[in-house]
């Protein structure tokens, strides 16, 4: 690959990246998520460039269709749900202090001592100790 090709690829990449960034700005613009300077920049593009206006229209049309498709037919009253949760609320809140737990090492030691004891008694009965 020649030096010229590399420079050309780099320029293409930069142009593509800028294009993508501008595209995402349009979405953020529709959602009112841009900072003031960025918003003014996109608003100026919107006013001057019919292709930007078209893209905004397309994305808004998508929003409208998604909104209609995913909107619940009705929202149930909160009361029943809240009553259910409050009924669970009658149980005391879990304490932030943890219960003292027996360390694993202590349990293992006790198990080892018991096993050794049983083995010792068994061996003694057979007269091996």
């Amino acid at each position: 690959m020649s030096c010229f090709d590399r420079v050309r690829d780099l320029l293409r990449f930069k142009i593509l990246r800028r294009h993508l960034a501008a595209e995402e700005h349009i979405s953020a613009f529709i959602d009112g998520e841009l900072a003031e300077d960025e918003r003014e920049q996109v608003a100026a593009q919107f006013a001057l460039d019919p292709s930007v206006q078209q893209r905004v229209r397309d994305l808004r049309a998508v929003d409208a269709l998604v909104h209609q498709a995913l909107e619940p037919p009705s929202v149930p009253k909160a009361d029943a749900c809240i009553q259910g949760a409050l009924a669970a609320d009658e149980s005391p809140l879990p304490s932030t202090q943890q219960k003292p737990r027996v360390p694993t090492a202590v349990i293992a030691s006790v198990g080892l001592i018991v096993t050794a004891g049983v083995a010792f008694v068994g061996l003694r009965r057979r007269g091996l100790v």
């Binding site: 959602d31 998520e33 900072a35 608003a43 269709l65 909104h67 995913l70 909160a78 749900c81």
Partner: protein, 234 residues
Amino acid sequence: MWSPPCSNFLENHQRSTGPESVSIHHMPGNPTATTTPRLRIQTAERASDAQFVERVLAGDQTAFGEILRQYHGLCYHVAYKVLRNASDAEEVVQDAFIKVHGALPEFRSEASLKTWILRIVWRLSLNLQRDRSRSSWARLGLDGDRELEVETAQSRLAEHPDKAYQAQDTREKVLEAIDRLPEPLRQALVLHGFDELGYDDVARILQVPVGTVCSRIHSARRKLAEDLHRRGLM
């Protein structure tokens, strides 16, 4: 070093209004925002979150009820958008509120109570969606709410047969198009579109950077636009 296009606006926004502030929507001078369909559901103000939690932890049942009442609508909408089933959404919201009660001592006041609760709703919704998709009833299309939807659609058909059929057909095609989106794009799209949830809130719920949310929402819209164009819906 390249940064995602939405990173700048968030930095500016956070500098001016604090990290947990709600995003600016419907800005004057924005020629499109006023007509973009977005849900507007009343939720609690950020400043009162810590006070409410303190009251609940002190044993105030009324405060807990107030929190649930304020977030119920938003939680139900989020659960419904994931599950597309009224009774499943109700079940998830109920379970989430019980979990919220149990986990409130772990809530850190520097976080937003709204996104903390919604993250619980979100996780439970995804879990139930996964369980439902595994059930043989769902595979056969015989889960309970579907029957209710069919009945509702039939009653609408009886009133205005042409319009209702067309609307139902469009809805099904749009839902199919949404289902064809890659999972991360679909998730961002589902959480997007609420007046109460800015990109920064969606980022906290999904636990991804804000720039990622911005690019996922845009990609989801663009892919949907292409798909819906091909199907003659736009």
